[in-house]
């Protein structure tokens, strides 16, 4: 029997018992739909979170700290429920930082694939306000190296460079609170960022200072809704005031954390492990994404289990349907054998029928899930995800579509093995006499 004939026969046999086969296919549809929808939502949310992580920690960046313990993530690191963590070497604590030595910085700079080393500037601004207005708003002031600034998508204006002075890029969400109706309107306006010295965090007397910036760019909407990006030059100046340490980021008092860019994201982990060998702390975006991926993997596996249970039940239904079919068609099987069908042909014919049920169920299930995902996507963007128009909550990569259909087809083929074996083993003479 040729392959096209096999397909033709399998699908036309499905049409013969429409209701029964439709119900069996429906069972597969439910399972396939559940699995694919849940996985697609997982991919969507994970992708969104991963994008956010990459915007804060690009994939070609290794963060380096003087304390090897400081970036350790995990229950122990959080001091929650895990084993108390041992403090490395001569460190003062797991979250304290000493400035790096010049020698350590030189060692990092000398590593292979290291392209650029910048201090990671720590500072906490109090508020931001529009020039001429007294309404003040929360802000996360983030001085960033030029290459990282350029990774953010702007809806208006231009990027800033490392040497830029007195210019900033504001988060999209500020447009609304500042009362701008369009991003273009914000360009050229002045904002005042207020910084109070770090001593105030523990209630000690501290000075306050205002820094003025011209808005030159507006970002697209991201989760970083209070972000105001300034250049490294301006950031260093503000940070020195905030820390009350005029020599910070100079050779006298170097940075405690470095942002190291490598010449290709594929080298990030390699450089990170060399940094670790130097006795320093390190973290890369793949570390963070790995944790997110693990969490999502677990959540998806649990959710998919429901779909897999549905598919398991569906496979029983396939076995049942095909056994019924073998009974009903016993005589037909006898005739087919009499006119030249071998055992193998009969076996493959029933297996193909099972496969057809699995394939159709999988394809319809994925299609329904795709439509549902699209609806969920639209509804969520119209409601609670209104601010994130680029966020696709339901994502259907090709491998998910192919994978689910392949999965249901394989399950169906396995389910049809026994009925097919039974059909193949029927005695042709008995079958021809069967009433």
């Amino acid at each position: 029997m040729s392959f096209p004939d096999l397909l033709r026969t399998a699908f036309s046999n499905l049409r013969r018992r429409k209701l029964r086969n439709s119900l069996t296919i429906l069972a597969v549809v439910i399972g396939a739909g559940l699995v694919s929808l849940l996985v697609s939502l997982g991919i969507g949310v994970q992708g969104f979170l991963s994008d956010q992580v990459r915007s804060i920690l690009p994939s070609d960046v290794v963060m380096v700290a003087s304390n090897p313990d400081v970036f350790q993530i995990g229950l122990g690191g959080l001091g929650f429920a895990g084993k108390p963590q041992q403090i490395s070497g001569n460190q003062t604590g797991s979250s304290t930082l000493q400035p790096l030595s010049l020698q350590e910085i030189q060692e990092v700079q000398g590593l292979k694939h290291v392209e650029q080393v910048d201090p990671f500037i720590i500072l906490q601004a109090d508020s931001v306000r529009l020039q001429g207005s007294q309404q003040r708003f929360r802000t996360d002031n983030r001085p960033q190296p030029e290459y990282q600034v350029k990774m953010v998508n702007l809806v208006a204006g231009k990027y800033i460079t490392d040497q830029t002075h007195g210019e900033c890029i504001i988060a999209n969400q500020y447009l609304d609170v500042f009362g701008f109706t369009s991003p273009q309107e914000a360009l050229g306006k002045e904002v005042i960022i207020q910084v109070t010295q770090a001593a105030s965090l523990i209630g000690l007397p501290a000075d306050t200072k205002e820094y003025s910036f011209t808005i030159v760019g507006v970002t697209e909407k991201t989760l970083s809704s209070t972000e105001i990006i300034v250049s490294l030059t301006d950031g260093e100046e503000m940070s020195r005031f905030w820390a009350n340490t005029p020599d910070l980021y100079t050779n006298k008092i170097p940075a405690a954390i470095l942002q190291v860019r490598v010449d290709g994201s594929q080298y990030a982990d390699q450089v990170a492990s060399e940094v670790k060998d130097l006795g320093l702390g390190e973290i890369t975006s793949s570390d963070v994404l790995g944790i997110i991926g693990t969490i999502f993997g677990i959540v998806q596996a649990i959710l998919s289990a429901f779909g897999l249970i549905a598919l398991g039940v569906a496979s029983l239904s396939i076995v049942n349907t095909l056994i019924m079919s073998v009974y009903e068609r016993t005589r037909e099987i006898g005739v087919m054998k009499a006119v030249g069908a071998s055992k193998g042909t009969i076996r493959i014919l029933f297996t193909a029928e099972g496969a057809a049920i699995g394939f159709l169920g999988g394809a319809i299930g994925v299609a329904i899930a795709y439509v549902l995902g699209f609806v969920i996507d639209r509804v969520s963007r119209a409601t609670f995800l209104k601010d994130f128009q680029t966020f696709n909550i339901s994502v259907f990569p090709w491998w998910l579509i192919v994978g689910v259909i392949a999965l249901t087809t394989i399950i169906a083929v396995l389910a049809s093995l026994y009925p097919a074996h039974r059909a193949a083993g029927l005695d042709p003479i008995e079958s021809l006499r069967y009433e």
């Binding site: 029997m1 040729s2 004939d5 054998k337 030249g340 069908a341 003479i429 021809l432």
Partner: protein, 214 residues
């Protein structure tokens, strides 16, 4: 208590020449059908040999036997055994599916076979839309479609009225004479049996009498 072995056929030594028309008569359970099924490759003898066209069927594998049934044998059944959901053409074309004849070519060959049995105008009819005689003609067309050497007919007229019976017998005799098809006919109908070149009587799995036509 135990399983008792019953010999459906015992000590049969039979030779049938190419193009011969042999009829087999005998009471129910005498082994007529078993003999036919063994010759047709649907059943295998527990002992002994069966050689058709130089091929020893008793030593053949399942796929060899199915190919043999497909290419060399045409079965005609008492109950027609047509597929009710298929039309006449599709029923006749079934053996061609297993012979891996391409789709387009199949309908052409099947149509020719239907024309041979005089049903050229009934190709799209379902079995339920045909008379008993016509159904058996479809059954015969299906048996012919792969150009077999041997036609095995097990009570082909058993379910037909006398008029249809005559015409089916005429058709079978014609196929035997004009196409040189070897025809084995199992029947209860002595009248039909007598038209054969040779008539075999069977009882208890043995051939008790063999009569040549004068």
């Amino acid at each position: 208590m135990g399983e008792e072995t019953i010999n459906a056929l015992a000590g049969i030594n039979l030779e049938i020449g190419q193009g011969e028309f042999v009829s087999i008569v005998g009471p129910s359970g005498s082994g007529k059908s078993t003999l036919l099924n063994i010759i047709g490759g649907l059943d295998s003898p527990t002992k002994g040999n069966i050689i058709v066209d130089g091929q020893d069927l008793s030593k053949a594998s399942d796929s060899e036997l199915s190919s043999y049934r497909n290419k060399k044998i045409g079965f005609v059944f008492q109950t027609f055994n047509l597929q009710p959901t298929y039309n006449a053409l599709e029923n006749v074309a079934l053996p061609l599916v297993f012979a891996r004849v391409p789709f387009g070519k199949r309908s052409q060959i099947a149509k020719e076979a239907l024309e041979t049995v005089g049903l050229g105008d009934r190709v799209r009819h379902k079995p339920s839309e045909l008379s008993g005689g016509e159904r058996q003609r479809v059954g015969i067309a299906r048996a012919l479609v792969n150009n077999p050497k041997i036609l095995l007919a097990d009570e082909p007229t058993g379910n037909l009225d006398s008029k249809a019976r005559e015409r089916i017998m005429e058709l079978l005799a014609e196929l035997n004479k004009e196409r040189g098809l070897t025809l084995l006919l199992v029947t209860h109908d002595l009248e039909s049996a007598k038209s054969a070149d040779r008539m075999l009587h069977m009882r208890d799995g043995q051939i008790t009498e063999s009569a040549e036509r004068k």
